[in-house]
């Protein structure tokens, strides 16, 4: 045991001496690993950041919310079949509401895309959601200012609006939005509430922060007739553990409302956020893997650089290897000497790369969210050490198995 420790210590001394006495060479070799680790870690913090903000974003929609819709979000049902389905109407919603018992909250939702104006400021293509006062109970929304519209306001179709945080920032950069009158399309609305920041940029126009909420009756009054298009019914289960039970209840109730017989297929779909997560994973996941793969290539190139320089180092020190063997160094001592050298090079390069990655991530974080986590730090150091060991192994093995007599004779 002591011998092995002494050998390792000697190996480390040799490695450091070798690295110091070949400064430029060592620095250039480290640069390869530096770039590789920096790129890989930056990539993974960016991926992690985007992932986190996506998850935060969709969880603001509520994990226990079901959406009864004419259209399925993710499905194998053919498009033309769904197109031929009946629209979901307000009348059906009221019947449905009277029959269901399990949900915590239900709300009919429809929407329109409109420009929003306040004096000269203007935001185009905003999702304007129309629903009832219960809508707020189907979400996890929190308020920066004000409140959601009330049942009376909603039933009466008043000109009131609740706006997302991004909309508030754009229309009212330096003032409070509450109580002011904005224009949605050509109609005036009074702002009764401003949402706190909910989701994340990754959801784009579906981000609640970029949306506006008005009573559904007001939508029908201002923008289109109530039978113009299908509505969605948002159903919130009484907690995540009730989702499955609630789903089967609402499916049964909806079939009843629609008067479907046992041999008819559903002519509606029940959507869940889970599907959103899955399709996110299947699309973005592939991009992420491809990204990591491409950035890993740079690390691979760095590793080849290390291997190359280690072969040179072994060749240069052939005579030294012969001498060490002659005075009693075992194979494992020679092997570990060179493995340590490549590991130290990789470790220093990797550590520098890691620091660079953290700095870059903090800079990028101004534009795209990144998330530096302890595991990426561990991975960074681990990857550089493993790279060092793998790329140093072939040269070190060559050195360890050198013939002592030949090596001593080498000039």
């Amino acid at each position: 045991m002591r011998i092995i420790l002494l050998e390792l210590k000697e190996g480390l001394t040799i490695a450091l001496k070798a690295i110091i006495s070949n400064k430029i060479r060592s620095l250039l070799t480290m640069l390869g690993i530096f770039i590789g680790v920096a790129v890989v870690i930056t990539m993974s913090t960016a991926i992690k950041g985007i992932d986190n903000s996506f998850k935060e974003g969709i969880s603001s929609l509520g994990t226990d919310v079901l959406y009864i819709d004419k259209w399925a979000w993710f499905t194998n049902v053919e498009w033309w079949k769904m197109r031929n389905r009946r629209n979901i109407t307000m009348e059906e919603f009221y019947k449905f509401k009277n029959l269901v018992r399990l949900p915590k909250a239900i709300a009919p939702v429809t929407n329109t895309i409109q420009p929003i104006k306040y004096n000269e400021r203007r935001v185009d293509n905003v999702f304007v959601n129309g629903s009832t006062a219960d809508y707020i109970k189907t979400t996890n929304f929190t308020f920066e200012q004000g409140r959601f519209y009330s049942e009376i306001e909603s039933n009466a179709g008043r000109q009131v609006a609740v706006i997302g945080s991004e909309i508030a920032k754009k229309l009212f950069p330096n003032m409070s939005a509450l109580g002011r009158t904005i224009k949605i399309g050509n109609f005036n609305y009074k702002v009764v509430g401003v949402l706190a920041e909910q989701g994340s940029f990754i959801l784009g126009p579906w981000n609640p922060d970029n949306q506006v909420y008005i009573p559904i009756e007001t939508i029908f009054k201002n923008f289109f007739n109530r039978s113009f298009k299908t509505i969605t019914i948002n159903v919130r289960a009484n907690g995540p553990e009730m989702v499955d039970e609630t789903k089967s209840e609402i499916e049964g109730v909806m079939r009843k409302v629609r008067g479907l017989t046992y041999n008819q297929e559903n002519d509606f779909s029940i959507n869940q956020q889970e599907g959103l997560q899955q399709s996110y994973n299947s699309i973005v996941g592939v991009i992420q893997i491809a990204g990591l793969f491409i950035t890993s290539l740079s690390l691979f190139v760095g590793a080849i650089g290390i291997m190359n320089i280690m072969f040179v180092s072994v060749k240069e020190r052939t005579k030294e290897i012969g001498l060490r063997k002659a005075i009693g160094a075992k194979k494992r001592a020679i092997l570990s000497q060179f493995l340590l050298e490549s590991s130290v090079i990789c470790f220093i390069g990797g550590l520098a790369g890691l620091i660079a990655a953290i700095i870059i991530s903090l800079l990028i974080n101004q534009f795209v969210p990144t998330s530096i986590q302890i595991d990426s730090i561990i991975i960074g150091i681990g990857v550089s050490l493993i790279t060092g060991i793998i790329s140093g192994f072939a040269p070190a093995y060559t050195a360890a198995n050198m013939d002592a007599v030949e090596a001593l004779r080498y000039e």
Binding site: I3, E7, S21, R324, A326, I327, G328, A329, K330, V405
Partner: protein, 240 residues
């Protein structure tokens, strides 16, 4: 008791398709505290014999007993152990590590032998003082003269208290005066009870030894004891 006993040793190298018989059926034994010179022209097999005796190489056939233990069947690690503990090498080109100072060079075999740090330092110091380099311990090889470098190498060979010292042309890279000094040092080491095997092709160097084994074409041509000559050289050296 023999330290080294070899019987009917042969070594065959394959060079391309040709077989080179470096040693043919060589037998000899060396006792404790002998001072042996192995001589012969180049290609006579003396280097091969020395590598064999130094456990750097194994014979193609024949028996090699080191202190009564057969070496031919040993594993690489066991051979490394023998080289570490029982054999001290001195080379023509010194083979010091350029980046290390004298004392670390001398410590090297002790590191591979697992000797703890304080003891290692102490023994390395003593060995350097013994070869007359007590004031050069922290010099790097390029700050030392040729003779001093060879002394460091001798200290490195002595530091493990080996059973034999194997010196391969130890004066080959030195001028004759420095060579004489080094030979005097070997004489001194021998008188302290060490066993020395010297490989050389210079007659006047071999004359320091008490026994000269002459090789030619892989065979022992002559194995003779030289009477008392070394006392003269010793006296001569003491005058220096």
């Amino acid at each position: 008791m023999n330290i080294i006993k070899i019987e009917h040793i042969s070594k065959i190298y394959k060079v391309g398709l040709e077989e080179v018989h470096a040693l043919r059926d060589v037998s000899l034994s060396i006792d404790k505290n002998e001072y042996v010179a192995i001589m012969g022209p180049s290609g006579s097999g003396k280097s091969t014999l020395m590598n064999m005796l130094g456990c750097l190489d194994t014979p193609t056939s024949g028996l090699y007993l080191f202190k009564g233990v057969s070496v031919s069947e040993m594993s690489d690690n066991q051979l490394a152990n023998i080289r570490n503990k029982e054999i001290g090498f001195v080379f023509q080109t010194f083979n010091l590590l350029a980046r290390y100072d004298a004392i670390h060079n001398v410590e090297l075999p002790l590191i591979y032998g697992g000797v703890p740090k304080e003891e290692r330092r102490e023994r390395a110091k003593r060995a350097l003082i013994d070869v007359g380099l007590g004031d050069r311990m922290n010099h790097k090889p390029n700050e030392l003269s040729g003779g001093q470098r060879q002394r460091v190498a001798i200290a490195r060979a002595l530091v493990t208290n080996p059973s034999i010292i194997l010196a391969d042309e130890p004066t080959g890279n030195l001028d004759s005066k420095t060579g004489e000094e080094i030979m005097a040092l070997f004489q001194e080491i021998h008188q302290k009870g060490n066993t020395i095997i010297l490989v050389t092709h210079e007659e006047y160097i071999a004359e320091h030894a008490a026994r000269i084994i002459r090789l030619r074409d892989g065979l022992i041509e002559k194995d003779e004891f030289v009477e008392k000559r070394f006392t003269n050289t010793l006296n001569k050296n003491q005058e220096i």
